[in-house]
C-alpha cells in the first residue's frame, strides 16, 4: 500500500507536490483546530443541571478576524497556484526545444506518433483515419509525415528533455494521465491540445485513461518508457529500420 503521492517522475512533480503539501499543511492546521475546538465545546459545554447558556448574538470583531484570515490565505494560495499553472499550461509554457510526439486516443487504445529523423510530425486529419492502414490519420501529402513512426500503446520518451504531446481523439473524450509525471489532460475529439512535460527518472511507468470513455475504459492503458538519450536514439533507429522493412507493430 502506498500512503503518499506516487514517486516523482517529471520536473512538474516536485513543484506540484510542494503545492499539495503546502495546502495540506494549511488545511491540516484548520482541520485539527476546528475538530479539537468542537470536541472541547462538546465536553466543556455539555448540558448540566442549573447551567444556563451564555446569551449573545455574536461578536463583530471576532467575525471580521475569521473572515479576513481565510480571505488573505486564499488570495496567497491563488497567486502561488497561478504562478505554477502558467508555467505548466500557460500560452508560452512549452519550451522551444520540446520533442514533439503525437498522441491519438481511440476506444480503447493509445497511438503514438514519433517524428522520425526530420524531427517534425506530419499533418494529421480525422478524415484520413483508417483502422487497418492509417490508425492516426497521417496525411501522406505532407512530406514531414513520410518518416513518422506510429506505435500502439507504447510511449517512449527521452529523459531530461521536454516533450510536447499533441493530443487528438477519434471518437469520445479520453484523458492522458501518467501519475508519476503528475500530468493529466483530457483528449477531446475535434481539438488538438498541447501538453508538455519533462521526464526526470528513466524507467517504466503506466499511462491510463482517466476519463470514462466506454466499456473498455478500465483497460485503456499504455506503457511509458523513459530512456536515456542514447537508449532513446537506439530504440528510434531500430523502429525506423523496422518501419522501412514494412513491419508494423
Amino acid at each position: 500500500m502506498h500512503w503518499w503521492l506516487p514517486p516523482q517522475g517529471s520536473t512538474f512533480a516536485p513543484q506540484i507536490d510542494w503545492m499539495f503539501t503546502a495546502i495540506l499543511i494549511i488545511t491540516g492546521i484548520t482541520f485539527v483546530g476546528v475538530e479539537l475546538g468542537l470536541l472541547w465545546f462538546i465536553f466543556a459545554y455539555r448540558e448540566r443541571p442549573g447551567r444556563k447558556a451564555y446569551f449573545t448574538h455574536g461578536n463583530t470583531s471576532a467575525e471580521i478576524i475569521w473572515t479576513a484570515i481565510p480571505a488573505v490565505t486564499m488570495v496567497i494560495l491563488g497567486l502561488m497556484s497561478n504562478g505554477l499553472w502558467v508555467k505548466i499550461k500557460g500560452r508560452n509554457s512549452v519550451p522551444a526545444n520540446a520533442y514533439p510526439i503525437g498522441v491519438h486516443a481511440k476506444q480503447f487504445e493509445w497511438w503514438f506518433t514519433y517524428p522520425g529523423p526530420d524531427g517534425k510530425l506530419g499533418r494529421v486529419s480525422p478524415a484520413l483515419v483508417s483502422k487497418t492502414t492509417n490508425p492516426t490519420g497521417l496525411d501522406p501529402d505532407d512530406p514531414a509525415s513520410h518518416d513518422d513512426i506510429v506505435v500502439r500503446n507504447q510511449l517512449h520518451v527521452p529523459v531530461g528533455r521536454p516533450v510536447v504531446a499533441y493530443l487528438t481523439a477519434e471518437d469520445v473524450i479520453h484523458s492522458f494521465y501518467v501519475p508519476e509525471f503528475r500530468v493529466r489532460q483530457d483528449v477531446v475529439p475535434g481539438m488538438e491540445i498541447r501538453s508538455w512535460f519533462e521526464a526526470t527518472v528513466p524507467g517504466t511507468y503506466e499511462l491510463g485513461c482517466s476519463q470514462l470513455c466506454g466499456l473498455g475504459h478500465y483497460k485503456m492503458r499504455a506503457q511509458v518508457f523513459v530512456h536515456t538519450q542514447e537508449d532513446f536514439d537506439a530504440w528510434m533507429q531500430q523502429r525506423a529500420a523496422q518501419a522501412k522493412g514494412g513491419a508494423t507493430p
Binding site: 500500500m1 500512503w3 503518499w4 503521492l5 506516487p6 506540484i16 503545492m19 495546502i23 488545511t27 482541520f31 475546538g37 468542537l38 465545546f41 462538546i42 459545554y45 455539555r46 448540558e47 444556563k52 447558556a53 451564555y54 446569551f55 448574538h57 455574536g58 467575525e63 481565510p70 486564499m74 488570495v75 491563488g78 497556484s81 497561478n82 499553472w85 502558467v86 499550461k89 500560452r91 480525422p126 469520445v172 473524450i173 494521465y177 501519475p179 503528475r182 500530468v183 493529466r184 489532460q185 483530457d186 483528449v187 477531446v188 475529439p189 475535434g190 481539438m191 491540445i193 503506466e206 491510463g208 482517466s210 470514462l212 470513455c213 466506454g214 466499456l215 473498455g216 478500465y218 492503458r221
Partner: protein, 588 residues
Amino acid sequence: MTTVAATAHATHAHHDDRSFIQKYIFSTDHKIIGIQFLFLSLFFLMVGGLLAMQIRWQLAFPGKPMPGGGILPETMAPGGVLLPEYYLQLVTMHGTFMVFFAIMLLLVGVYANFLIPLKIGAHDMAFPRVNMASFWSAFASGIVMLMSLFVPEGSSRAGWTMYVPLSARHDYSGAEFGQEMWSISIILFGLSSILGSLNYITTVINNRAVGMTWFRMPLSVWALFITAILGLLAVPVLAGAAIMLLFEQVLGTHFFDPTAGGQPILWQHLFWFFGHPEVYILILPAMGMTSELIANGSRKPIFGYHSMVFAIAGIAFLGWIVWGHHMFVSGMNPTLGSSFMVSTLLIAVPSAIKVFNWMGTMWRGNLRFHVPMLHGVAFVAMFTIGGLSGIFMAATPVDMFIHDTYFIVAHLHYVLFGGSLFAIFGAIVFWYPKMFGRMMNETWGKIHFWLTFIFYNGTFFPMHIIGMAGHMRRLYDPTIYDFLKPMQPMNQFISICAFLLYGSQIIFFVNFWWSMFKGKKAPLNPWDDNGLEWTTPSPAPHGNWDTLPTVYRGPYEFSVPGMSEDYLPQNRKLPTDREPVMTPAAGH
C-alpha cells in the same frame, strides 16, 4: 390538541371533507406533498445505496461472484459476476439517483415544501396546485429513470455527468433506450424543479405572517429561499441541455458532434453551469437546517445571524460563477482556468464564516445531545473536511494531478454524505413529530448515528489516501494497473466499511416505520424550540393554523436572561413587545 383541532375545523375555511385520494394522493396540502417527497426520496436513497454496494463489491473483489448476485439477469451479472456494461450502469445510476432523486428531493422537495409555510406562518404554499404538479412530475421522472435499468441494453453508461460524445451515440456507449430515457427523465425533473422553485420564492416573498420580517426568518427558510433562486437560474440550463442531448440522440442533430462542427466541450459548460450551482443546492438547505439543530441543541442564539444570511447569499452567488473548476483539464483555455480558480478559492471565505459561527453558537452553550444535535455537530465536523479538501482541487496545478481520482470521490462524499445526508437525518428526526405526531426512538436513533458516523468515515476517509496515490475513478477492474494492485487491501477495507454503513441504515428505516405507528406521542413542542411550526398541533391540520400567528422576534432567542424557560417562541408576546406593523404583503 383535540380542542385546537376542533376549533380549526369549525372556523377555518379549509374544511376537511376531502376524499382519501384528494387528501393523501393528489393532495395540494404542502405537508402531504412534503411527506410524499420524503417517501419517494428515501426509496431512491435506498436504491442508490444498493447500487453503491454492488460497485464496492466489484472494486474489492473484481471478477468474484457477488453474494446474491445470482438473482440478477444474465445481461447484468451472469453467475453473479458483474459485467463491465452493468458496472458502468451502476456508476451512472448511483450518481444520478443520489444527486437528483435522493439528496435534492430530500432537501428541496421535502423540506422546502414541509417547512416554508410552517416556519413563516402561512396556510399553505402560494400555488398549491403547482406544488402538486411539481411532485407528480418528479415522480414520473423517477419512474422513467428507474425503468431505464430494465430496458434492452440497460440504462445510461456515460456517468452521471453524461459527457458527450459518449452519451450521444449508440456506437460509442452501447446503450440506446437507456441513454434517451436519462434525457427524458431529466427534462421532467427540470420541470418539477422549476415549478417548485417558483412556488418557494413566491411563498417566502408573499405569505409571511405579520411580524415575520426578512431578518426574523429562520436560517432554514433563508437557505431554502436562496436555494430556490439558485435552482431557478440553474435548472432550466440543465433541462435545455438535456433537450439538446435528446435531439442529438434521436434526431441526429450536431450540437456536440465535432465531425459536423459541433463542440463536445459545450456540453460540459452547459452541464456544469447547472452542475455547480447544483452542488450548492445540495448543501445550502442542509446548512440552514443544521443552523436550526445547532441553535436548538446549544440553547443559544445563532452566533452572527446576519453574517450567516450573507454567507448563504455569498456562497450562492460565488457558486454560480465557478463551474469551470470542473473543467481545468478539459481542454478549456488554461487562462480561463485561472479566473475560475480565484472564484472557487473565494468560496472558502463564506464557508469558513459558517463553520466558525456554528462553533461560536456552541461556545458557552448548554449543549443538549439529542439525536438531531448529534447529526448537526457531525455535519459541521464532516463538512469541514469536505470543504477543506475542496481547496486541493481549486488549486489548478494540484487539480491536474488529483482530478478524476478517488480524492474527488472522497471530497464529494464528505460534502454530500458527511454534509447533506447527516443534516437530512438530523432534520428527519427533528421534524418527524411535526410530520407524524410521534417521536422517533431516541436510543435507536443514537445507535444509528454512531454506527453511521464510524462506518461513514471508514468508507470515505481512506479514499483520500488511494486518491493521492493516483487511483482513478470509474474503473471496472483496478487490478489491470500494476500501480493500483497494492491498493487492493485498502479497497477491500473501504468496501467492508461500506457494507456495514449500508447495513446500519436498516436501523434507521426500521425506526422510521416503527415509530410512525408505535412511537411515543409527540408533545406540542418536543424540542423546546422557538419556531412557529411548534405552535400548531402535530401533525398540523390542513391550513396549518386557524388564526395565523403574529411574530415578535427572531427564531433563536434561547436562554434569554431573566426568563424562567430557556426558550422564547417567536409568537409569544412579552409586555415589552410592540405590535408589529401590518404590511400589505402579510395581509393575505
